[in-house]
């Protein structure tokens, strides 16, 4: 029997939902999870790094968005403006100092069920703070919804596990959707840095701006360095320059980051870099619990859901893959035949 999304993620106290782009179905996955958790009587806390439960897409007004329905007793971190607009009865637990373009973030307990727009803190440290606050107010699990393609909330500094959403919106070509998704999964599951080698710590911000010449000079000054340690962000531009400089010197190098959300790739994935002799490694890993797919690109095209999932499963293997709206998903079946 295929498990439910809620069962797979049951042990994850702070669960991040992250999409590879806008309209990959994060919020639909969140709504499915909420329904399942409500059926099991689990008290949840919900926040969003963006905005969820709005009626229309902020860029393309033709696209209608899924609503967020919360059970009575749920905790929520959203703004004063949106909480008031929901008109749901609630108990105000905390007024934070966090300001967003949509108002100040509050933490509240709902006294009754209903639909609400959720817009919590945007910054990772603030997301962690409100998540911990909701846990301390009695939430058994906190769901952190991402926004667009933002990944920072899936950092192990913020969340304990990740559900990744992908979909047809990435490309009309199913192989291209699979390629981009596989690269995103490779990135999330970067190999852990092995201990034992002497790592060369790069100066702060060096990776942000270094040009080819500076990299060449760095490699020549440290002929024995096998690994470079980057404290902050690792942009693609740096990796391309590094690859160039390393090839000329016939050297293979590891580049170590603190976690996968620090890596910013554009054209190529981690496997490609590894094959070229640049191994991207991480100090902390992200626990990828499941992948959800949305076979529909709004206002554009559809892909075949079962085929997309099969192709992904072939390459990715050991991560459960769901389309929570497909009739073959256990959650939709139990809803249809439910009590």
């Amino acid at each position: 029997v295929t498990p439910l999304l809620s069962e797979l993620t049951a042990s994850t106290k702070r669960l991040a939902l992250v999409g590879l782009a806008k309209n990959t179905g994060k919020t639909v996955a969140l709504a499915a999870l909420l329904r399942e958790l409500e059926a099991r009587g689990r008290r949840v806390g919900v926040t969003s790094v963006g905005r969820d439960g709005e009626e229309r897409d902020a860029i393309d007004f033709r696209i209608e968005k899924p609503r967020i329905e919360l059970a009575g007793g749920s905790l929520v971190a959203t703004t004063d403006v949106l909480l008031r607009a929901s008109t749901l009865p609630h108990e105000l637990l905390e007024q934070t100092d966090i300001r967003t373009p949509l108002g100040r973030v509050l933490i509240a307990r709902l006294r009754g069920p209903g639909a609400i727009e959720v817009a919590g803190p945007s910054g990772a440290a603030d997301v962690r703070a409100v998540s911990d606050a909701m846990l301390s107010y009695g939430a058994e699990q906190v769901l952190i919804d991402g926004a667009i393609d933002r990944r920072a909330a899936s950092s192990p500094d913020v969340a304990d596990g990740l559900v990744m959403s992908t979909g047809a919106v990435l490309s009309r070509n199913i192989e291209e959707v699979v390629r981009q998704t596989v690269e995103a999964v490779e990135l999330v599951r970067l190999p852990l840095a092995e201990n034992g080698f002497q790592a060369l710590r790069l100066a702060p911000r060096f990776a942000l701006t270094a040009e080819g010449e500076q990299l060449a000079a760095l490699l020549d000054a440290h002929p024995d360095a096998r690994r470079l340690e980057v404290a902050g962000a690792l942009p693609d531009r740096f990796l391309r320059e590094l690859l160039h400089a390393a090839r000329r010197r016939h050297r293979e190098l590891g580049v170590v980051v603190s976690d996968p959300t620090k890596v910013f790739l554009s054209q190529r994935g981690p496997a490609w870099y590894a094959a070229q002799g640049i191994a991207i490694q991480t100090r902390c890993s992200i626990d990828l619990k499941a992948i959800t797919v949305n076979p529909v690109a709004p206002q554009s095209h559809d892909l075949d859901s079962a085929q997309l999932r099969a192709l992904l499963a072939e390459t990715i293997g050991d991560v459960p893959i769901f389309d929570v709206l497909d009739t073959d998903y256990a959650g939709t079946r139990s809803l249809a035949t439910g009590p």
């Binding site: 860029i59 300001r99 945007s122 393609d149 933002r150 701006t209 962000a233």
Partner: protein, 252 residues
């Protein structure tokens, strides 16, 4: 005299609540009676009651320009929009200087750029450069701001490195957001890089562009979004207020 009902606000021209709206547009049809009829029908479909064409003329062969009036039957609840985040009343330049001196007490450092492949620097120039626009000079002309304009097509990493190097209080980025994911990705990537460098709580992030709303700014992870019709003093008002609130919060 009739008083304004802020729960049901609608446009007016002659007397309060008459709903009159003036609209102008061009149709790609020849200047003719049929063109006039098309304009009336279109305004009707837009929901205007009693539409009338007050002026129309040929723009060029095959194109007609219209000025119309119509009665709008819809209202908005202004009281629901006055919550925090929407209630900023803009300060003028002198007021901003006084406020900054009193509540911040040091120059506010702002670094701006158009990022990625975006070649449009008009927006960022209007906000930052002394010249400004429409007679409102940019932040460079304020005593209370120290600005760095890095220009256009700036990689996110370079913008961020500069901002960290000069101890920026705020990063201002301009981007023409379209339905293409690329532009949106440029904006989110900057936010994520700021996070990766551990600087998110230290920096105010603002984005601007023709289609940027507060709702979109929130999704993108920015502290504010600015769109068409923004003058430098609007941006400056937000920055001094936000910084003052942060200074206040950390002092408390």
């Amino acid at each position: 005299m009739r008083s304004v009902d802020l729960k049901a606000v609608r446009p007016y021209a002659d007397h309060l609540d008459d709903g009159l709206v003036q609209l102008s547009f061009t149709l790609p049809v020849p200047y003719s009676l049929a063109a006039r009829k098309a304009a009336l029908e279109l305004a009707g479909r837009m929901g205007f009651e009693e539409p009338e064409v007050v002026h129309y003329e040929q723009l060029t062969d095959g194109y007609t320009y219209f000025v119309m009036y119509g009665r709008c039957t819809q209202t908005v609840d202004f009281t629901s929009l006055q919550g925090e985040g929407f209630d900023i009343e803009y300060m003028g330049e002198d007021e901003i200087e006084r406020f900054a001196a009193e509540h911040v007490g040091r120059p506010i450092v702002v670094v701006g750029a158009s990022t990625g492949s975006d070649t449009h620097s008009v927006g960022i120039d209007a906000m930052l450069n002394l010249k400004g626009y429409h007679g409102h000079h940019g932040l460079e002309g304020y005593r209370s701001f120290k600005t760095y304009n890095l220009g256009s097509q700036v990689p996110n990493g370079v913008l961020l490195a500069k901002a960290i190097e000069v101890g920026a209080d705020a990063i201002l980025v301009s981007q023409t957001v379209t339905q293409q994911n690329l532009h949106v990705h440029n904006l989110t990537e900057l936010v994520e890089m700021v996070e990766a460098e551990g600087k998110r709580r230290e920096m105010i992030l603002a984005c601007g562009g023709p289609r940027v709303t507060n709702e979109l700014a929130k999704e993108l992870g920015y502290d504010a979004g600015f769109s068409k019709g923004t003058y430098p003093n609007h941006l400056a008002t937000f920055l001094v207020r936000e910084l003052a609130a942060r200074v206040g919060a950390s002092a408390a």
